[in-house]
């Protein structure tokens, strides 16, 4: 499914392709025309992708084919062994996690998991966890602490699931507990916002020493649609809300909510997932290297200070 704002690009690409086929089929030399159109295409891409609006980025962050946690685990890590279950109620497919190696270093990983097609999306509840998902995450935090291995998380959720069963089983409580558990880690913790960073359901596994974000990902207290529905009383005003919420990587960096932005290939990570994942891996390795010298206690204090200073207010 092409995104609305990409349609002119796709249209141009289609025409170039047609010309090439015509040239091949008829033997007519269309080199010059093709070159001209390709230049125009490059220009159009630069204009479009170089000036993305926040709302366009939100759409890219949700694009089909964008790398998910499992894609990252498969391609940037070695020997991922998925572990399941919260030891109390269920295994939540909307959060995955387990043991892996990053360039040979032992790490424990957790991430939201969206489906890669409609069927998988249903099974994974569109990446919206229930309480048991966060309990699984906490169990893996325990494991990371117990063995002293870095704890890495990948955030990609519209939000924690807002349903009756989730409320019954303490969605608010488990998010609070997960924030607390993660903040207490005595190992290096690094989070990457992969796609959507929706509210408390994202933060629950994002209380890290360093929070990185992919160039077109978003992270905020509410989705643009819900924000628009409340403040503008019309979900269709989401583009305005996306603008107002300052939810893009660059904005978040300015607010110090994230520590670094990971570049994406032109047109978004889904256009070249391997490249995006390679960029992500390099950023992760660099970040882990920075945290290497810190003692368990220093890691805790570093994380405490990181979040302690966030906010904007005036002394009286």
């Amino acid at each position: 499914m092409p995104l609305e704002f990409e349609k002119p690009i796709l249209e141009l690409e289609r025409r170039i392709q047609e010309l090439k086929e015509t040239a091949k089929a008829t033997g007519v030399d269309l080199q010059a025309e093709i070159r001209l159109l390709e230049e125009r295409l490059a220009q159009l891409k630069k204009e479009t992708y170089g000036n993305l609006t926040p709302w366009q980025r939100v759409q890219l962050a949700r694009a089909q084919g964008r790398p998910t946690t499992l894609d990252v685990l498969e391609k940037a890590f070695q020997d991922f062994l998925e572990l399941h279950g919260d030891r109390a109620f269920a295994d939540d497919p909307a959060i995955v996690g387990g043991l892996a190696y990053l360039e040979g270093e032992k790490v424990v990983v957790v991430g939201h998991q969206k489906g890669r097609d409609t069927k998988e999306n249903l099974q994974r509840n569109f990446g919206m966890p229930h309480p048991e998902g966060y309990r699984k995450a906490m169990r893996l935090m325990d494991l990371a602490d117990r063995f002293g291995y870095p704890f890495l998380t990948f955030v990609d959720t519209p939000g924690a699931y807002p349903g009756v069963s989730a409320e019954e089983r303490g969605q608010a409580w488990v998010i609070a507990q997960s924030i607390q558990r993660m903040s207490r880690l005595r190992v290096p913790a690094v989070t990457v916002i992969l796609g959507e960073g929706g509210s408390g359901g994202a933060l629950a596994i994002a209380v890290a020493n360093r929070v990185l974000i992919l160039e077109n990902a978003w992270y905020s207290v509410i989705s643009p649609e819900s924000c628009a529905a409340i403040l503008w009383r019309d979900a269709k005003e989401a583009p305005k809300a996306a603008e107002a919420l300052k939810l893009t990587a660059k904005d978040l960096l300015a607010q110090k909510v994230v520590d670094a932005v990971i570049p994406e290939p032109e047109g978004g990570a889904h256009k070249d997932p391997d490249r995006a994942i390679q960029n992500l891996k390099e950023a992760l390795l660099k970040t882990l290297e920075e945290l290497k010298g810190l003692s368990p206690e220093a890691l805790y204090q570093d994380r405490y200070r990181r979040f302690r200073r966030l906010g904007a207010y005036a002394e009286p």
Partner: protein, 285 residues
């Protein structure tokens, strides 16, 4: 976040405009109550027991020992994102400040509660639906720090529609900040008690409010993560009777006690006196 409620009913507490000034009307049973009696009864309907919302100052008066409260909250909000929806955030803030006479949605300070030295923080639903932005987050973190430094218990009365949307990600970060600040109390074995009042939802429930050593809820209070409207839209069904009310939360193991406001101070004191290591047993206190 469940700020939606705020936009449907702006008044923090009972009282329509069709009854004379001296009287107020119970939201639940419609009984006409003499305002003075209503206030003396802590905004609980003497007829049906319905717990109405209560101004932050009266909360303080109800919990702090007389003459001990020293206000400490004074930070002022900024508009870090230059947020504008149908109205600029800066204007909204001014209006709330005018209505409540408070810089932001929290009133707090030091006091004694049943003789136990405490930091008491009360959220004010009348200010932007008690939403948590940078000021609320910072005041709570400072409250926890002060409690730890001065050997005080921490008591927070929560009332909130959730996070302050107009501060976006910075508002979200207050969830982490407030939760982390509680660690200081752990280090010193100081107790933390929270009281969940109507309503407590969103990022406030999902952070400091849920992590108290002892959690009280007021009868009938709406408490949860997602707001009822959002849930109804998600599941496209009517919500079960009593869903997300304090009694439902008790049944589901989320709160320690659902306590009538008229007994609340007594029970809070009981918990504080027990858990605060510096306070010895005294029968009947």
């Amino acid at each position: 976040m469940a700020l939606e409620r705020l936009f449907r009913r702006k008044r923090p507490s009972g009282g329509g405009r069709d009854v004379p000034e001296l009287w107020t009307k119970c939201e639940a049973c419609g009984a006409q109550i003499y305002k003075k009696e209503f206030q003396e009864n802590l905004h609980v309907c003497p007829k049906c027991g319905h717990h109405h919302r209560m101004p932050a100052e009266e909360r303080v008066a109800m919990l702090a020992d007389p003459g001990t409260f020293q206000e400490t909250t004074r930070l002022r909000p900024l508009d870090p994102l230059g947020f504008v929806d149908t109205k600029p955030y800066a204007e909204r803030l001014k209006a709330y400040q005018g209505e409540t006479g408070r810089p932001d949605a929290i009133l707090g300070g030091t006091c004694a509660i049943g003789g136990v030295p405490a930091v008491l923080l009360v959220m004010d639903y009348a200010f932007a639906g008690g939403s948590m932005g940078s000021v609320v987050g910072e005041e709570i973190a400072r409250g926890a720090e002060r409690a730890a430094e001065e050997g005080r218990a921490l008591v927070i009365v929560a009332a909130s529609g959730g996070a302050r949307m107009q501060e976006a990600a910075l508002s979200l970060m207050q969830m982490a900040k407030t939760v982390m600040s509680l660690d200081l109390l752990w280090g010193k074995r100081l107790p933390y008690v929270s009281v969940l009042t109507d309503p407590t939802t969103g990022g406030v429930t999902a952070s400091f409010a849920a992590l108290a050593d002892v959690i009280f809820a007021e009868p009938g209070a709406l408490i949860g993560f997602a707001g009822p409207r959002v849930i109804r839209q998600t599941i496209r069904q009517e919500l079960p009777e009593g869903f997300q009310r304090a009694e439902f939360l008790l049944k589901h193991g989320m709160v320690d006690r659902v306590t009538d406001r008229r007994r609340l101070k007594r029970e809070v004191v009981q918990a504080l006196r027990h858990l605060h290591p510096g306070v010895p047993y005294a029968p009947g206190v």
